[in-house]
């Protein structure tokens, strides 16, 4: 699962496995649906948003706290990268 862009995916995956799922052994993939896949409750998105904001210095508005926006580790990493790119440009 590791690749050269894993700097953002890895901490998100670790947070979800350890703090939300509390099952570090689950074979979670980056594109796996988290909410619609029934792995985590939608209210855990709030905790994940707080984590993303703290860890990556981004702002995640309430309107994005839905499975349509953030349903996988890949969605979350992409969200962080997009804001970082905008901030840099």
């Amino acid at each position: 699962m590791t690749n050269q862009t894993d700097d953002i995916e890895a901490p998100i995956r670790a947070f979800i496995l350890n703090d939300i799922l509390r099952n570090p052994d689950f074979p979670l993939t980056d594109d796996e649906p988290l909410i619609t896949g029934g792995l985590i409750d939608s209210h855990a998105l709030v905790e994940i948003a707080v984590f993303l904001e703290r860890e990556f210095d981004v702002v995640v508005p309430d309107t994005e706290l839905t499975p349509e926006h953030l349903d996988s580790v890949a969605d979350m990493a992409q969200r962080v990268r997009r804001e970082h790119a905008q901030g840099a440009g």
Binding site: N23, F26, P27, E32, P33, I35, T36, G37, G38, L39, I40, D41, S42, H43, A44, V46, A49, V50, D62, L65, T66, P67, E68
Partner: protein, 555 residues
């Protein structure tokens, strides 16, 4: 308070006539911009919804499903439906994708005649189960409309339909008459000594009985203003709720036990700078058992902002009773009973112990019964039990439901001819206070929602890999959630290899989410028969739960 008039709409109109210009509804929007509506403004906005519904033939006795976000429109739609003598029912919102199918299934099963929505629902066939059930988009409301003439609705007509647990065809519609709701309003207002100067504030979802009746209907019909905030905003910015209490000098509010911990974990001191909560005289928790440790952690966290200890109270109720059976009376510190928990479990008696005794455990009082409410504790054979004996809670009250929609057999079993309703919860009475700690039969209390284990087991057993009748769902306490985590154990069919487990787990989780919008806390898949059954082969959820707790208990 004067004797109740026969219907909610009449009582509402009486309040509008008394105080047309007084504040009725204040909605805390995004960026903390408050939208204010006076009683007469609330009526004129509700009349627009009534006109839209009337144009589509909705009238006395018709069921209207309201699928709107937490907003002023949700409140207008509720009163607008009642103005026509029709029966509103609020549907959960937000609706993740896939819930549209459930709204449709509910419309079919419930006999609804219209659905009010905000236009985000996909294709909708107007004919549902052979009758008209149009989807009415709130963007097509008339600009203004006069309030309709009231139709002859009686005390026994259905004022509200509360769907319990889940939104599929499996959920039950609890039918509440105008008489039941109005009698509840009188009793609840008396228990809380509600007065004209009270300002209530609420973030609980209105599609739950607690949010709707405590947070909206009781105060409005009493003539006092209601401040509302969306549940999503509470989840995301709990500090905004405390700021709104301060800004509006609110006196009453409501929450779940899980909400205590949400505030403890997610409110930062810098967000509460300058906030004074001294106006609050009631912060009443309910909807799930209230735990002493959660209540204490909340008080210790928030006390420095002026929250009074005697405001932190608990109550007990259920949709079948409109809402509360009992509630702690404001102005007195909550009663906590320290009992010998081991003896309670073994002998079914709540023996009081000194708090300092290492064997003692605290049980938070749910308060005395409401005025006019009878509560009794009975043994398994139905014989009434005495003080401090633990048994099944039964109630006989002026605010009981009229039955489950379309389920006369179930109604007859739960609501008996002599007027006693079997709640399915267990608890005891001591010194006039009701203590509740048992589960509502096997119901799982997950973050303020009741989940029927049968629903989860049926989803799992639809997979060919799961042995029929060999799965058990149950709730276990979760300190992080302040609520229950859902555990599902499934025995697998012969020949399933361990390599298949992740695929089966993913499939079960995906289906549980698609149907119930909850995530399993833990899924146990066993190839050797883990689920506990009784001697005659019947599934035992309780014993399976005990086995799980024993297995996971720290050594």
């Amino acid at each position: 308070m004067s004797a109740p008039t026969p219907t909610l709409a009449e009582r509402f109109l009486a309040r509008v006539a008394e105080r047309p210009d007084a504040d009725a509804l204040i909605f805390v929007g995004d960026n903390d911009q408050d939208q204010c509506f006076s009683f007469s403004h609330l009526l004129s906005e509700s009349a627009r919804f009534a006109a839209l519904l009337a144009k589509h033939g909705i009238g006395r006795g018709d069921l209207v499903l309201i699928a709107l976000p937490a907003s002023p429109a949700q409140v207008f739609a509720f009163w607008g439906t009642l103005l026509l003598g029709a029966t509103p029912s609020l549907f959960p919102y937000p609706r993740p994708k896939g819930l549209d199918a459930q709204l449709r299934a509910l419309a079919e099963a419930s006999g609804a005649r219209a659905v009010l929505a905000d236009g985000e629902i996909g294709a909708w066939e107007t004919r549902v189960a052979g009758r008209d059930c149009p989807l009415l988009d709130v963007r097509s409301l008339p600009a203004s409309a006069p309030p309709p003439e009231l139709v002859g609705v009686g005390d026994a007509d259905i004022a509200y339909m509360q769907f319990t647990s889940g939104t599929t065809g499996r959920s039950k519609g609890v039918m509440l008459s105008h008489g039941a709701v109005l009698r509840f309003c009188v009793g609840f207002a008396e228990a809380l000594s509600l007065h004209d100067a009270d300002i209530s504030i609420n973030w609980l979802p209105l599609y739950h009985d607690f949010g709707l009746f405590a947070g909206l209907v009781v105060p409005l019909l009493h003539g006092s203003p209601v401040v509302l905030m969306s549940p999503l905003k509470w989840v995301r910015h709990p500090a905004a709720f405390f700021a709104a209490i301060h800004r509006h000098r609110a006196t009453l509010t409501w929450s779940s036990n899980a909400a205590y911990l949400h505030a403890v974990h997610n409110v930062r001191d810098q967000d509460l700078d300058g906030i004074d909560l001294g106006s609050l005289r009631c912060w009443i928790a309910g909807g799930e058992p209230v735990l002493y440790d959660c209540q204490q952690a909340f008080y210790e966290r928030i006390a420095r902002y002026g929250l009074r200890e005697d405001a932190i109270l608990a109550g007990y109720g259920m949709a079948e009773n409109t809402l509360s059976v009992s509630v702690a009376r404001p102005g007195r510190r909550v009663t906590v009973d320290w009992v010998n928990m081991a003896a309670l479990i073994r002998h079914g008696r709540a023996e009081p112990l000194e708090r300092a005794d290492p064997r003692s455990r605290p049980i938070v009082s749910s308060g005395p019964p409401l005025p006019g409410t009878e509560v009794r504790i009975v043994a398994a054979d139905g014989q009434p039990l005495g003080k401090r004996a633990v048994g099944a809670i039964e109630i006989r009250t002026p605010s009981l439901f009229s039955g489950y929609h379309g389920h006369p057999d179930l109604t007859a079993r739960m609501l008996r001819a002599d007027g006693w309703y079997h709640t399915g919860d267990s608890g005891y009475l001591a010194d006039g206070q009701l203590y509740v700690f048992g589960r509502r039969d096997d119901l799982i209390k997950h973050a303020g929602h009741g989940i029927h284990p049968q629903d989860i087991e049926a989803i799992a057993e639809a997979l060919p890999e799961v042995r029929p009748g060999r799965s058990a769902a149950f709730g276990v306490p979760d300190e992080h959630l302040g609520s229950e985590r859902i555990v599902l154990a499934c025995d697998l069919a012969p020949g399933i290899s361990e390599a298949d487990h992740p695929r089966i787990e993913r499939e079960i989780r995906r289906r549980v989410y698609a149907e119930l919008q909850v995530a399993l806390g833990e899924l146990l898949l066993s190839r050797r028969g883990w689920v506990v059954r009784t001697a005659n082969g019947k599934l035992s959820r309780g014993a399976s739960r005990e086995k799980y707790l024993h297995m996971t208990r720290a050594p």
